[in-house]
Amino acid sequence: MKIILEQLLNGLTIGSFYALIALGYSMVYGVMKLINFAHGDLFALGSYLGYTLLVFGSSYVTVTFGLWGGMIAAMLIAAIGIGIAGTLIERIAYRPIYSVGRLPAVVSALGASIVIQNGIMVIWGPRPQAYTSQVVPSAMLNIGGIKITLMQIVVLIISFILMGLLFYIVQKTTFGAAIRACALDRSTAALMGINIETIIFFIFALGPALGGMAGVMVGMYYRKISFTMGWNYGLKAFTATILGGIGNIPGAMLGGLLLGVLEMLGSVYISTAYKDVFVFLILILVLIFRPTGLLGEKIAEKV
């Protein structure tokens, strides 16, 4: 029982990373019908930005804001930086080719992804980097026999706050209603007086900002970051997006958390080596029996 609870917590932690990244994929896909392949690498860029702020800039950041304040500050700065990077990519790589169909945008997205990934390699070097223990507390807690790291609690709290915030924005505010309207039907939404340009700008800022924060948290949780990790996390998060129903915001959160938990349970009860195989098998099975994902609505096909 203790093991199950511990693994559940581990799974939820990883799942919340996936969920935060998946939100970016899902929002962009919902409005643009575009798989933003560069999103995973923006996440990695966020991780490196946080690394620079916390490890190189520790004399400024950690000293000025304190240990916890420094971590929060690093996350916020990374979020702003990656948000700007996301909108820049949209301007440069996607906006000129929206009108010509979806497939050129896929190549353009892959190109942008290669540029960011190799940009990170050129700037920070090909070797993996580490968030040192001076800037990230590594305390271990023991709650009723269940071992849990302090970082895990922090990660869970922050990501649930972020997800709750986004859920509130998307489901309860007028702005969120505009985003959902765009996801349903972009041209009709434009006719109703919604400024599509603004919506696109915000989803390309908001999604990557969440991804950037997830990047900093992954760095703080696992300590080790590498320039290729964007692909792995991106692929998993994209899987989570599909699992929950692509274009669906609560679906992305559910998909991410579920994927993390399944991965952990798979690695405990099946085998560590086959945990990813298990995850992808689940994905394929879900798609065979429920092709629109868990929370996706069935859309009648237009002829």
Partner: protein, 334 residues
Amino acid sequence: MELNKNINQKNSLFKNWLVIVVAILFIALALPFIINAYWVDVLFFFGVYALLGLSLNIVLGEVGLFDLGHMGFVAIGAYTTAILNTTFGIPIIILLPVSAIAAGAFAWLVCSPIIHLRGDYLCIVTIGMGEIVRLTLNNNPFGITGGSNGVYGIDFPSLGNFFVIDNSTKFYYYIWLIVGLTIVGLVNLQRSRIGRAWNCIREDEIAAEATGIDVRHYKLLAFVLGAGLAGVGGNIYASKLMIVSPESFSFMESCMLFCIVLIGGMGSIPGVLIGAAAISLFPEVFRAFAQYRMLIFGAAMVIMMIFRPGGIWPRKRGTVKFESLLIKAGEENG
């Protein structure tokens, strides 16, 4: 008279093409004597990418099915070759069709249940499938795939003992002979009933179904043929490198194949060749830039799509001119 003129025009066009093709063939045959072994190897890998690009082009270009796990099929072909050759000593040449059949059969097995999925859903399932293949190979099931080290000590292709393909130049001729044969086959396929049915599905699936095309059958056929060709590519790749390992068949490589087809132009055979040249030669040409070359490569992909979103050599749609049907435009109105 009009008809005759048309045929003459067609003939002269055909002659022009023939001259170009013969010139390219001549240059291709002479190249290994001009350039050094390193560039012959580069051209060999250009050939491999061309073959794999052509195989993905069947699925992505002709039928419009998003397949981002194509390297999985290549891996099946390569590992079939590697395992059967190293364990049982079966000659590589015999394993060429065997690999094709193995990859095709695998494609039929895994694609049958998922073929009804549309667009991006099919895309993510193929990604999942490709990753499952790679991860499984990496985990050394039953101790036959050698885990992350892979399988090594694969023979050269040979016909008996007297003709062994054992150096760069021979491999170069070998791959381009197979690419050439494949192109001839695919051009014929494009013009056949199957090719037209595929294109019809790509343009409008529902309309295709309404005209009586068995959409499911033709989609599966495309996957099986594409995978079979990918298996051939895997066989040649394995025999050239003499080692196969899981990281050669990563998601990134599948994305590169995807880019080959889209950079060249969907469904266009010359386009695929140009795309393969771009992907395989570009990093070599820019080798001088060392660590910046992939940066330039990615930027080039973005710029390429902004200025030529249809690809470098897009496929022309087949058109029927009024003249060739001996009908003058506007006659019906008069």
